[in-house]
Symmetry: C2
Subunit: 327 residues, 2 copies
């Protein structure tokens, strides 16, 4: 089993790599070779007792000429395509967004179809392919009318993925990730950053600002679930999926108020008291255009699973990132 | 008023040009200049008594470097983007389909946004952006899951059009045309060709083959209506449309059996008897994946209109193409 991961140095890429190395297998076959690609050279995970996997790391701009040459030589059985610039950057730099998120994806598709191999290609799309107004719960037949360039680029990648798969040129599955919480690391300026921040900082003994009101609802899953989606997608029988190859992943629709209640249940009142409620019109306005809730029936039928409640999502963070200790 | 038309030598492009020249105005302003582009040099329509319009014709591959240089120099107020390779060719030649229908469209968008002018850009999309299975009537919120490369390319063009419009880089409207009947000219090998053929040839005294059963339903409008959609789209207030810039155009859902009944009502039993019913499994299979019926509510609200029945569509053909005479 040979695996290539683009965007391997990002949060999900790192966790996916670690999980694959820990498992040692994918789709029931031992992993022999992993190609890890990112704009900065990805780290090879340290393995207690060593690993038989041959690692190859590549620092590369996926939109550059020849970016996928090594991937083409490897002829991987599974490609996880996670590389992208994020929503905020794609919105600020129109050309770069289309260059990386669309052209960089298309170059991967072209490499695969021209390379004479036919890997399972798992494309990470996003619920950003949807734009307001929405029904109460977005079902699997609802149209993609993104309100960000990032969402448009992901939706275009989805269309081409389905088309190439229909033509037998690759074997693609697009998975639309929920917003991932709780992200570890430092606070960032992403408009969605507070969804992690209002849990992460308080659990680590620091104050956090919540810029929206308690009734704001959003669709979320843990990083551990995101990795689970990717691995499940890698092994799924294409015949079961049919020609509609892009799937909204499961998650939970929770309000900010419910998140904070959950924080109190899991970690007590002290972390809750570290949240400063400072409404921000700009961020509230952006968030108002985002999906709130889904009916992700197809993904559930196909066996994708995620946490059922926010308490579990918070416990995943405490286990995976805080070694079980809160402040 | 300066106008550019890509695909000006095609059926709709020619009829649009003729209509604009006959009107002499668009959006209430006199037409001063028209740039007509196509892969083969478009003809300038002959005008009884002459015309004050300055015509510029250009034979060009829209995916070629510099294809839109003349358009950029003209800085048109309205661009009608009709150029595309058709569904069958895009399916046979994957690379050419993406090159012309996606890259050629993107190059136009780039020309406009980099050119410092902000025209109304009317993009002809297609009901091919939809793929089976369908509800009884496809509403304005139904997702695009095309089952042809042509449909995927049009859907990608739609996404980018909306994104650029949202960013203020152009002022786009995408209109999803129904299947256009009755197309004049010779029979062609398009899978949809029989929808016109079973009316056109019999009305001209020739035999025609119907390769599908009488209960096959499809969504149709006349060439005259298609031109009407384009002109209406050119003048529509963008604020009324909102951020969802791609609209399914009105049409009628009729069965092949109803089409033939209509032919009998309008032109008598002789043309009807010229139809040979010879079911073709291959064509029937393709057509089974096509949309049957729509609820095009948004387009209706925005003032787009089409024929209400097949009798009217047949009469349009007899008036516009047969000088009122049938055989």
């Amino acid at each position: 089993m040979k695996i290539a991961i683009t965007g391997a140095a990002g949060l999900i890429g790192r966790k996916l790599t670690e999980r694959l190395v820990a498992d040692g297998t994918l789709n029931g076959r031992p992993i022999a070779h992993m190609l890890l690609m990112d704009i900065l050279e990805p780290a090879v995970p340290e393995v207690a007792g060593g690993s038989d996997i041959v690692f190859d790391t590549q620092a590369v701009d996926i939109s550059a000429q020849g970016a996928y040459d090594r991937l083409a030589s490897l002829k991987p059985d599974v490609v996880f395509h996670l590389a992208a610039i994020v929503s905020g950057e794609a919105e600020l730099d129109f050309d770069k967004g289309y260059r990386i998120n669309l052209d960089g994806t298309r170059a991967l598709y072209d490499t695969v179809r021209q390379g004479g191999f036919n890997p399972r290609l798992v494309f990470t799309s996003s619920i950003a392919v949807f734009g307001a107004p929405f029904p109460d719960a977005i079902d699997d037949d609802f149209h993609s009318t993104p309100l960000t360039s990032y969402g448009a680029q992901k939706a275009m990648g989805e269309l081409m993925l389905s088309d190439l798969t229909r033509k037998g040129m690759l074997d693609g599955i697009g998975i639309r990730l929920p917003t991932i919480v709780v992200r570890p690391g430092k606070p960032n300026k992403a408009a969605s950053g507070f969804f992690s921040g209002i849990l992460r900082e308080p659990l680590m003994g620091q104050r956090a600002v919540c810029p929206v009101s308690a009734d704001v609802m959003h669709w979320m899953a843990s990083p551990r679930s995101a990795v689970g989606f990717l691995i499940h997608a890698a092994g799924l029988d294409g015949a079961r999926i049919g020609p509609r190859r892009n799937l909204t992943m499961p998650g939970i629709a929770v309000t900010v108020g419910e998140m904070v209640e959950s924080l109190g249940r899991v970690a007590g009142s002290e972390p809750v008291n570290r949240i400063d409620w400072e409404p921000d019109e700009f961020i509230s306005g952006i968030v108002a255009g985002w999906p709130r809730n889904f009916d992700a029936a197809r993904a559930a039928e196909l066996g994708f699973t995620a946490e059922q409640d926010m308490d579990s999502i918070i416990r995943v963070f405490i286990e995976d990132e805080l070694d079980g200790t809160t402040h």
